[in-house]
């Protein structure tokens, strides 16, 4: 009995070691091609928010100070600049290649290995967070020193910690969400359309396309039921020290925790059903 209990206790520790080892290998893989590394890891997701900054700066009619509806040029631009940084921590669909592996019949080999397949996506998640944090932290520090008006530093340590907590929880939700969508390859001939569609909706709901201050109240309330909203839109405002965002922190954690549970169940269900359907020779 004691031996069984010890074996059971060793399980999570063993899985954690495997995840870390997978993360190290993933790191070696992404660093293997220099051009690809710079374009995919360093500059990824920077274009869209920066284009939005150009749009805002070239718009006429935006008040310089905060207007009655909370809209101001400086707030909007600063929000998008910080989005460009924070969004890099969010796990994205192209970090996974599960659907390709299903289509080509490569996942078979993982079924024979003495660990769950999810160790590999979890390793990629850890690698992604560590690498992107190593890029974002110095970039945010440098930008906030060079141009504090357009890229303000976090208001204080507690705001930064709360924002980071939401981003990490939300990023884990994205991992599970994209895993479930990739696993639809067990049934569908084409998955990339579903992934792109989901990504576009998530970007819009997460305030990564347009600053939330431009969205009507009802739209904001609707988006607050979704995990992308709490992954980027709220943490960015929280880091800026917005009192409303600070007050919403507990609601954000609760919402993301609920999504995390729901998406874990969904991913497990899709994976289990898909495995039963999988023929092993490519779909």
């Amino acid at each position: 009995m004691n031996a069984a209990a010890a074996e059971f206790a060793r399980g999570p520790a063993r899985l954690s070691r495997l995840v870390l080892r997978a993360a190290l290998w993933e790191l070696r893989k992404v660093a293997a091609f220099r051009a690809g590394f710079w374009l995919k890891e360093v500059f990824r997701n920077l274009a869209r928010p920066l284009v939005m900054v150009c749009v805002l700066l070239s718009a006429s009619g935006l008040p310089q100070g905060v207007a009655g509806d909370g809209v101001s040029l400086q707030h909007a631009v600063a929000y998008m600049v910080v989005v460009a940084l924070v969004e890099k921590l969010v796990f994205h669909d192209r970090c996974l290649d599960l659907s390709d592996q299903i289509f080509q019949g490569y996942v078979t080999k993982y079924f024979t290995m003495p660990f769950p397949y999810f160790v590999l996506p979890a390793g990629r998640f850890v690698q992604h967070i560590v690498l992107q944090a190593a890029i974002v932290a110095p970039a945010w520090t440098a930008l906030s020193l060079l141009a504090p008006r357009w890229c303000p530093p976090p208001a204080d340590w507690s705001s930064a910690a709360m924002a980071l907590c939401l981003v990490l929880l939300g990023s884990a939700c994205f991992l599970l969400f994209y895993f479930a969508l990739h696993a639809l390859a067990f049934w569908l001939d084409v998955v990339w359309t579903t992934l792109i569609m989901a990504r576009m909706i998530a970007l819009f709901c997460g305030g990564m396309v347009l600053p939330p201050m431009f969205l009507p109240e009802r739209v904001q309330e609707a988006f607050a039921w979704t995990f992308p909203w709490w992954t980027v839109a709220v943490p960015v405002q929280l880091a800026a020290g917005a009192p409303a965002a600070r007050a919403d922190f507990a609601r954000g954690v609760a919402t993301l925790a609920a999504w995390l549970v729901a998406l874990s169940l969904l991913a497990a269900l899709v994976w289990a059903r898909g495995r039963r359907r999988y023929a092993g020779s490519g779909m």
Binding site: R48, C54, V71, V190
Partner: protein, 272 residues
Amino acid sequence: MSARFESAWGKLARHARIARSYASIGIVRRAQFRTEFFSQVVMDVVFYGVHVLLFEFLYRHVDSVAGWSLGDVRVFLGWLFLSDAFMMVWMSHAWMLPEDLKNGNLDSVRARPVQPAFLYMFQKFSLEACVNMLIALGWLLWAIDAHPRGWSAVDLPLFAWCVLMCWMGRAGIMALFATVEFVLVNGELSRVLNLLAVDVNDHPLDVYGRRGRAFLLYFLPLGAMNYAAASIWLGKCGTVEALALSLFVPALCVGAFALFARMFRRYESAMS
């Protein structure tokens, strides 16, 4: 002279026959996968919806963006959707170039006596994207009709030319970006550049200032995909620039396809 003309006509006819074959194969293939058919149609509708909502919400707070009114931007989006739909109908296979190049799957393209960029990139005709093309065309016609500029029968040749420019510009840019793969294998640079193009080009180029606009229109010519057509249609550029763009975009398309054919000689078959 006559022989040369016939030869050119013969080449064109051969490419048209290949395009027709690709289309019929695409229709048969898609008839077998109904879920995917609707999935792609819905995906592009979401793409259109996100862009429309972005500007509709933004213009509640601003008067204009870089001199473009809401009506202008609606027309601009119509050209963007039309250009995107063309890519989805004919050129979605260009996305596979990095893998096909790496795995040495291009031998069959090398062995055929036709333009390699055309043969490779146009091979996956998408029937579902034709539905999106109709939606895009519907949006464009609505936006043009609702715009103060309006239109009449006299504008039809200009409209047809702008549509052609839009498609030529998209084909040229995709061929141009694809050539990068032959230089830096494994970098997936064409994919990154195409994604970058989507992000940078889905707003009027005037938002980047005069120099940024010139850079993105003539040097890294993303504007050839839809901005050129939109600005000519709306009269945002002068007559001289409109004429210059009308020469530049077709030249870009021909030049990019020729460059692809030249770079294709670097392809070294399996696992290069």
